[in-house]
């Protein structure tokens, strides 16, 4: 079993992916997210950290056996069980398909829409409106796919569900108010099914869905 330490800052949605995967696989993960174990902005700039993790980015994982890994998708895959990775060649490829989909189709518009509401980025009306349309398209693709499915790949929950749910978290918490998400009933049902799994709750706690679309925080 791949036990070890995950370096991250608190509440990092990218770190939730490996942590939820570990809940399913039974991997024992120590989270180093606050001093003295880890101080984001300082520890990850030290020579010893950069020697192990050359980009200085988090989440970063070090196994008890010394094996080091960066990039959250790789860490989540490493900490997963075979079932989570996809038990056939086809399922394994479909898991990677949805993992790529999350990074290339969800993260960019989700960041564009949500960051200004958190005060992380300047608000830009045109960029936000475009991002809303991109998000609508993503939710619609998922809604179609989940029309006749409970989970994204095969009959059981996989790393595909964990990855796509985590990439949608900020959207569902911050801006997908009921009037916006009402057209995507299958996607909503799937998202709620996942976050109510005990393995998700153990990491995410109670996820409160957005009631009123947050506006940008000037």
């Amino acid at each position: 079993m791949a036990n070890g330490t995950l370096y991250t800052y608190p509440d990092n949605w990218r770190a939730f992916k490996p942590l939820i995967a570990a809940q399913y696989s039974g991997a024992k993960i120590k989270v180093a997210s606050s001093p003295p174990q880890f101080h984001f902005g300082q520890t990850n700039k030290t020579p010893e950290f950069l020697q192990k993790f050359p980009l200085g980015k988090v989440p970063a994982f070090q196994g008890d056996d010394g094996f080091c890994l960066f990039e959250s998708n790789a860490i989540a895959h490493y900490l997963s069980s075979e079932a989570l990775r996809g038990s056939t060649k086809e399922a394994a490829a479909q898991v990677l398909q949805w993992v790529s989909f999350a990074d290339s189709e969800i993260v960019p518009p989700a960041s564009t829409w949500v960051f200004p509401t958190l005060g992380i980025m300047q608000y830009n009306k045109q960029a936000t409106e475009h991002a809303k349309e991109e998000v609508r398209k993503v939710l619609s693709v998922l809604n179609e796919h989940l029309q006749s499915r409970t989970f994204l790949v095969g009959e059981r929950l996989t790393l595909a569900d964990i990855t796509v749910v985590c990439s949608l978290l900020w959207l569902y918490k911050q801006v997908l108010e009921p009037s916006f998400r009402q057209s995507f009933l299958n996607t909503n049902r799937w998202f709620i099914t996942c976050i109510n799994q005990p393995q998700f709750k153990a990491v995410l706690g109670e996820v409160k869905l957005c009631e009123k679309m947050a506006q940008f925080d000037a």
Partner: protein, 31 residues
């Protein structure tokens, strides 16, 4: 020819700005 197709690729050109902003936000949050 293919460069004309290339222009239709979806690339997150601003990714570095979002990465930097997110990093600064969480660095501030973590004091």
């Amino acid at each position: 020819m293919s460069t004309e197709y290339l222009s239709q690729e979806k690339i997150w050109f601003d990714k570095y700005r979002y990465d930097d902003a997110e990093r600064q936000y969480y660095e501030q949050m973590n004091g």
